[in-house]
Amino acid sequence: MNRLRLVLLAVGGTGLAALLVAACLGLPGFGGRSHPYGARAVHASLTRHTANTIASVNFDQRAYDTLGEMSILFAAVLGCVVLLRQARDEHRAQPQPAEVARPVRRYALIVLPVALVTGLYVVAHGQLSPGGGFQGGVVAATALHLLYLGADYRALERVRPLAVFETSDALAVSTYLVLGAAGVLAGTSFLANTLLPYGTFNTLSSGGTVPLLNAAVGMEVASAVVVLLANFLDQAVEIEEEHGS
């Protein structure tokens, strides 16, 4: 390996390590009691009837961050679609139906609906219990891909019309943005959670716009992960290069 790189790595790494260790010694002790922002966030969450404080921070107090996060996911998925598109010198090969062992197939087909429902449940209860649009969306999208194990690739492609998922990904982002802009139209702030009643604490409809934004994120994440996995699967299974190019 390159000598210079090792020297740089040794010197730079040691220097940064020394700096970080010195900084760690200056940090407030682990488990300390002073969390001013955290305490304010808990208070704000309770005044808006959102039982899961993290959902309140994500979809109400710092909903603008979540907008950025969503857009990152959206842009990255769009980027992956563009980067993994079929190039001029590639063609699609129909994959052979793979033999899957029977127990695996049965297991996958049983787990699939369970996982799908779990995902949706986790999305729906985001403002009440741990979980939410993001976690549930990933679970639901990954669950769909159990079909790859349970049946075969072509079955998966049938239940997974990619264009629909791409559209729903984009529509979910638009929904989030429109909900945010509704605040501006109503004369208050962008993403203001003051338009809907806050509802009864600890019920599914509590928290004003929190459940709506949460649902938009859930839809976006689920569609985005489906599209992402589909593109990688396509590469791994279907797209082939022309030989001799």
Binding site: P130, G131, V138, E240, H243, G244
Partner: protein
């Protein structure tokens, strides 16, 4: 008691991170990363962050390793078909 659990989870995290870096074969690294994701999920739960633990489990232990595996498969498959093509050409 809870301190001891946290310490164990932290040390496991550090160990699996080291293993993930030290494992130079990407397919095996994906498995180690999956372990790292699970250990982190446990650590987060111990640190009273079940929300984060759940998403780390979904993303770090499942999604990311899956993407890496698929990439490895693509790169390997590519290598194989190209080797085969090269052999055909040589014949």
């Amino acid at each position: 008691m809870s301190d001891a659990v946290i310490v164990v989870a932290l040390l496991l995290t550090a160990a699996s991170a080291t293993a993930a870096v030290a494992q130079r074969d990407p397919a095996r690294q994906a498995l180690v990363l999956s372990v790292l994701g699970s250990v982190l999920a446990v650590l987060f739960t111990v640190l009273q962050a079940p929300d984060v633990g759940l998403s780390q489990l979904a993303v770090g232990a499942a999604l990311t390793p899956l993407l890496i595996m698929l990439s490895v498969r693509k790169v390997r498959r590519r290598g194989r078909t190209h080797d085969a093509a090269a052999k055909d050409g040589a014949r």
